[in-house]
Amino acid sequence: MKPPVFFLLILLLSLTGCAAQPPSLPELTHEAGEERGCAAVFPQGRWEFVHTIEFSMADGSGATVLGVTSLGGDEIACALMTVEGFTLFEAVDRGKEGLEVRRAVPPFDKLAFAAGLMEDVRTIFRTPSSATVQYGRAGGTIPICRYIGVEGRITDILPVMDGCWQIRTYGADRALSRSVSGSSCRKEGESLIPEHLELKGFGPTNYTLKMTLIHAENLKGKALP
């Protein structure tokens, strides 16, 4: 019997393979204007989040873990643990200084897992790094902030979707690679914090992370440990 968490590793390791065609990048009707609330999607300053994370694969397999995300400056720290409190993975991404993996229990000790996990975390919590930002609407109605990275990756921020927000990332081939849907948002200072998040990864093995917020705290002025 394989441990359920193993499926997450398999899934993350195989993101770069081939898969069924995910949705493509929608055409944007450009509009001049401000960023229209997209900045509120990403928490600013020092934050700590604790979520329950239900992950599942297309075949229905999956498991539930607890996840910790700490944001501070350019740094992101994250940890995964079992419901019983056993730490499976803990790492700190120090930006230009690189990724420090503090603990990684097999099979979470593969670099590809760490990279995939941190990419999920950055997608949810960090403003995309981009060369240009465009503002407009998709389908004539949905406001979008489109971040276009130098490497061709595109991130669409939909700041007003179903009472919260959505994020969609596309690869250089313009195929959808990740989508994040927030729901039951509440305003915390300048940030919109969702009670629930659903991240879908598109690729060779589609996967879903359903995250429910246990705790969110703005730790003003405190450096990331």
Partner: protein, 192 residues
């Protein structure tokens, strides 16, 4: 991943020796617990609450109520785990059971009051009312550096367990409302 189960099992067998002051007398143990998870990156610990019921020789219900409900059941030589999922309790069928069987053998030693070295742990008594378990196997030691048991003032009752994973990472379990040798209905060891 065997270690994940091992951790749960550790929680079991450190709870079980609550009655070891009367070797051979233990029939059941029930208690509530508060679990604190400490990590270097956490500004404050994650608090979980739950309860457990153990009945000799090898029946267990280990249940978390918050922040997420989960139930580990061992009964009749079988082990099942259920975790809250999509609003209900879904069975976690990915668990390995072989590690638990090994650990259960250790549990029986504890139930007999044998706080002595064994294949898995070196046992020491650094202070009165404190038992320190240090893993012998390097693979296990890489995951759990030590386990500290704080025995209560009342003979045999356990107050607290601290599982040290490494620098800045630990899990503590503080027990309360402990009951010994109550009659336990078999239904307790089923999903309910």
């Amino acid at each position: 991943m065997k270690r994940l189960l091992l951790l749960v099992a550790l929680s079991l067998f450190v709870a079980a020796p609550a009655a070891q002051a009367q070797p051979g007398q233990l029939r059941s143990v029930q208690a509530d617990f508060i679990q604190e998870k400490h990590l270097k990156i956490l500004a404050r610990p994650i608090i979980s609450t739950g309860s457990f019921t153990f009945q000799a020789p090898q029946s267990l219900r280990w249940e978390y109520r918050t922040p997420i409900r989960s139930i580990l059941l061992m009964h009749g030589g079988k082990m099942r785990k259920f975790v809250e999922r999509d609003g209900g309790l879904a069975e976690d069928k990915g668990m390995r059971l072989d590690a638990m069987q090994v650990v259960l053998a250790e549990i029986s030693n504890w139930l007999d009051g044998r706080f002595t070295d064994n294949a898995m742990f070196t046992v020491s008594f650094p202070k009165k009312q404190t038992v320190l378990l240090t893993p012998k196997e390097p693979g296990l030691a890489a995951l759990i550096s030590s386990i500290e048991l704080k025995l209560g003032d009342q003979a045999g009752l356990l107050d607290k367990v601290i599982i040290f994973e490494g620098p800045g990472a630990s899990t503590s379990l503080t027990f309360s409302n402990r009951l010994l040798n109550q009659e336990i209905p078999a239904a307790v060891f089923t999903k309910q």
